[in-house]
């Protein structure tokens, strides 16, 4: 009863508050009728062949912002994710999951398993499409990676953790995949600088397109396909880093609690 009363109070408060804002009680109009100046500039410069100073050569304004206009922010976001996973891994240090050969009796019913076999492929295809077309259509590396991570999660729930490990997706393989992704992001960040050093030209760290004072940059097109310079590579590597990172966490959390406790006890007895 008290819960219902609290709910009623909250709903009434929100409705009144919304009414005040909508009628201009705070002195401004919502939603605003015009695009803000900053947003307008991003929209103008995202794909603008006539302005070589600021353009990213990507029709997707959000990915342009995420990996070019504020690229360093995204790099450090990726590092935060990297550190979070390192933290989870350190909690589970030294805990090995047991190997099982006979696993066909584990998991849910054959109907669910068959459906999952089909949907897993679809999920991976959608994830690849989101990530690799991230510079053309809405989406990007993190979106694609998070979507791709749903596929191993489904397998883990519907089949079992051992099925996933027997497929070859073990902890160390996934860590290697994630490291390759992060290394790729790092190399891409320095790619323009490396090319500049080799060609003896000025260049910047995190440079994408050629700038007036740094004429060497990454190509916007390969053949006829638009790759928007570094954006495609960032998205590609970020997808691997994110998908492998999430899957490692699932594998670790999937170890039965009893087994973890047993191994922890054995470890403490040894010392």
């Amino acid at each position: 009863m008290r819960r219902l009363l609290g709910l009623l109070v909250i709903v009434l408060f929100i409705m009144l508050f919304a009414l005040v804002i909508a009628s201009g009680g705070f002195g401004y109009e919502v939603p605003p009728s015009k695009v803000r100046e900053l947003a307008r500039q991003f929209l103008v410069y995202a794909y603008n062949p006539f302005n070589t100073t600021f353009t990213v050569k990507s029709p997707e304004a959000v990915t342009s912002i995420v990996w070019d206009f504020r690229g360093l922010d995204t790099l450090f976001e990726t590092l935060v994710f990297y550190l979070a996973i390192i933290g989870a891994l350190s909690l589970y240090r030294g805990i090995e999951s047991e190997k099982r050969a006979e696993i066909s009796f584990l998991g849910l019913s054959p109907i669910v398993k068959t459906v999952t076999r089909i949907t897993t492929g679809i999920i991976i295809a959608v994830a690849a499409s989101i990530a690799l077309h991230g510079h053309l259509t809405p989406g990007g590396g993190f979106q694609g990676g998070a979507t791709a991570a749903v596929a191993p999660l489904l397998i883990l729930i519907v089949f079992s953790k051992y099925f996933l490990e027997n497929l070859g997706l073990r902890k160390n393989v996934l860590l290697a995949l994630r490291s390759i992704g992060l290394l790729g992001i790092g190399v891409t960040a320095f790619s323009a600088l490396i090319i500049g050093l080799v060609a003896n030209n000025p260049a910047y760290v995190f440079q994408n397109q050629p700038k007036p004072d740094a004429p060497i940059g990454l190509p916007a097109y390969i053949g006829d396909s638009l790759i928007s310079g570094t954006l495609w590579f960032f998205n590609f590597f970020e997808m691997f880093a994110v998908a492998a990172g999430f899957t490692v966490i699932f594998l670790l959390l999937g170890i039965p609690e009893g087994e973890v406790l047993k191994q922890l006890r054995e470890e403490s007895e040894e010392h």
Binding site: L7, I10, P138, Q143, F246, I249
Partner: protein
């Protein structure tokens, strides 16, 4: 039929958005006050789904694409796995 008025499309969209926003607040309140942790996660997932719909209506497809797998798939899965490792009911 004088009382039938033509409603602008934006008004319908904004009303639907307001409805989703209000429902998501209710779901959040239920998630916070719920004793059973599994049910709390379900309420939280409902709130996330409504947020994803709001982002879609706000024309932010980039956020929708990251919000759908994270909020509907990954986040409830991780929290449910953690609940399985602890207790199903919140202590009073």
């Amino acid at each position: 039929m004088r009382w039938v008025r033509v409603v602008e499309a934006s008004v319908i969209i904004l009303s639907v958005m307001a409805l989703f926003a209000l429902s998501s607040t209710i779901a959040t309140y239920l998630a916070i006050t719920e004793r059973s942790l599994v049910k709390a996660v379900l309420y939280s997932a409902i709130q996330s789904t409504l947020y994803a719909l709001i982002y879609y209506l706000l024309m932010a497809p980039d956020i929708v694409l990251v919000y759908v797998p994270v909020s509907v798939g990954l986040y409830p899965a991780i929290v449910l796995m953690l609940i399985k490792k602890t207790e199903k009911e919140e202590e009073s």
